[in-house]
Symmetry: C2
Amino acid sequence: MHQLTEFSFSKRFPELPLISAALAEEHPDFVPLSFGFPAKESFLIPLLSEAAVSALQTQGLESLQYTGGTGPKKVNEWIKKRSELRSIQSENENILVTSGSMQAIDLATRTLADPGDHVWIEAPSFFGAIRQFSLAEVELTSFPIDEDGLRVDLVEQALIEAKVKGKPMPKMFYVMPNYHNPTGVNLSLARRKKLAELAYEYNFYVLEDDAYVELSFSGGFVPSIYSFGPERVIYISTFSKIIAPGIRMGWAIAGEQVINKMRMLKSDGSTSVFVQEIVSQFLAKIDFEQHVQYLTSIYRARKDAMVRSIHEYFGNEVSYQMPEGGFFLWLTFPAEVDTSEFMEKSLKNGVGYLDGKHFYLQNDELNHIRLSFTFCDEEQIRRGIQRIAESYNDYKNNREVLEEAL
Amino acid sequence: MHQLTEFSFSKRFPELPLISAALAEEHPDFVPLSFGFPAKESFLIPLLSEAAVSALQTQGLESLQYTGGTGPKKVNEWIKKRSELRSIQSENENILVTSGSMQAIDLATRTLADPGDHVWIEAPSFFGAIRQFSLAEVELTSFPIDEDGLRVDLVEQALIEAKVKGKPMPKMFYVMPNYHNPTGVNLSLARRKKLAELAYEYNFYVLEDDAYVELSFSGGFVPSIYSFGPERVIYISTFSKIIAPGIRMGWAIAGEQVINKMRMLKSDGSTSVFVQEIVSQFLAKIDFEQHVQYLTSIYRARKDAMVRSIHEYFGNEVSYQMPEGGFFLWLTFPAEVDTSEFMEKSLKNGVGYLDGKHFYLQNDELNHIRLSFTFCDEEQIRRGIQRIAESYNDYKNNREVLEEAL
């Protein structure tokens, strides 16, 4: 055999930091507030079991092939009907069922953009999406959000400036309009309309990630960005938060040309028609409105428990915007705090969270943490917040001692 | 709203012809010999049903999350153990479970190659893989095969020539060593060894697609290419042909660095841990050797029926290499025949096949068709071959009349 020489892999792999909260769970009573895992209680196991048996009995031969069975059609019908609540009109040719919504983000990005093209995003934004954009080798620029979501006025300024100065225009703007990950804020109606208008005027696509839309604590909703600009918006959502992540099923809604290109890039073929059959039978068996109310009642109670504990253990030391739905609370510490600095201590104390820097392109802001209130029960949440407060106070006291000593 | 201007999509989309056999099935008694669908009889529906219920009952809470449950570990164990039969030694860090083996082809290609890089393949080769390579924007070169598979001697010549002349070297060679799709031939032991040596010497990876390995009519097997060069081979296989395509599950085995990069590109996350749980429980319930014997007994009988019908209806007009396993028979007509020219007639007569040109980069050879002997039963196969023969004879007679008239 010949001596091996070094192989030069594709240049597309980014050097992104590992997210350490995932790694350390050695504490016997660890409280994971890190990741967006649904509540165990949200999984309707007996119904899923019935759906699986019935799927195999009635559509087994078809749904075990590459394509076939009644499942895909019924899942499409459900998506169409449900999307009308977001003011979205769609036909089968506008819908692509994907293997989770992250796959839809990947397919949309590579459909719209080549390496070197520009994609604009919010700051902060979902780290998983940022990773997909990096792998697609696009250039990223981010825009701040406030309590009404993305600062669309700043986006417009930047578009005008880019056009005037001949700078690169974006091919895509990635935005999470409802219960934004990580901040929990909603994009206002006026800004949705304006963003769709900008997409038409400056000829880019909005990638509207609506993963959490069903999980509203008030029951209210605002029309989707898609409804204001169906020719320049790709709308994506997922069954991960309303049925289960383990079934790996999401969807995209867009113009037929976009959907056909996304389908061509989808190297896993049709998303499992076997699982689609199970999902379609599950959806036929449940009262979906009641199911959503059940989910939001769990999550509202957990969010309330988290808010109470934050007040109890942090007082006025921290701030946050009250989540009106979704999975996350974004906790803001005083500006001089670097939340990564008490991360290790927190993990040792038995609690996990994500430090805010992962949600920015350049680690712009260090004084936030993202807390998920969905997976842990109320008692765990209280213990978790208490432990973060203890770790933070230690860090703060040490820092004060250090500063005095200087 | 502003006037829409045309949007410029990613340049990565190839202009590949549609495969028309998929479209026309209006005949009341259509015989689809086109696509590689497993036999309906191969799906063990009651066992899959038991496995699904048991998966949900025992590992429901875990396997419905993004990651978790005992399924992935057990599936890995099965893959490791089974791969030893191919002389492959692997650990967990060498294995990536994928959503079908086509996804593995996509991930491997984009891990190894950037747009413009060179990938070498067999001629003919699997049209689905060719499509993935085109989407990855790599440059393709193909090498002929004979009754012992890929002409590795010609590959070596080309490597030497490229090196001497400073021409681009391949980053990857895609090859199907067992029951090649479409030709059904096997790569000889000597050529496997030689190809692995060339990969080391000239620093490229072999992508060894072993989708059909279990389906041997003789029960015999040759060690994998991977076994001769684990540091420069990515081995891929699939559950599609041995459990069901609808579960969408395949795998890749490679060095840890390659696997980690492939995992990073895998935008659908871990392949459904819910489905992995079902698969692991299914594998625990069956006698796999007996299952493989059951599958091959069905497919051997159907292959024999196809061969008999070919002799009956075509006599000595056509030739083929007898498949020793797998899904396909590659039928060769006299050199002057273009099989596309009696395709439409065949579809009208109620039979589908794939014309050979789809399996070549430049439609090099037009006188072949690929027949799948797995999906249709023996009686259907007989009718299908009879209909192809009728269409061919019509085509031939018309041509002779035409030639005489000229």
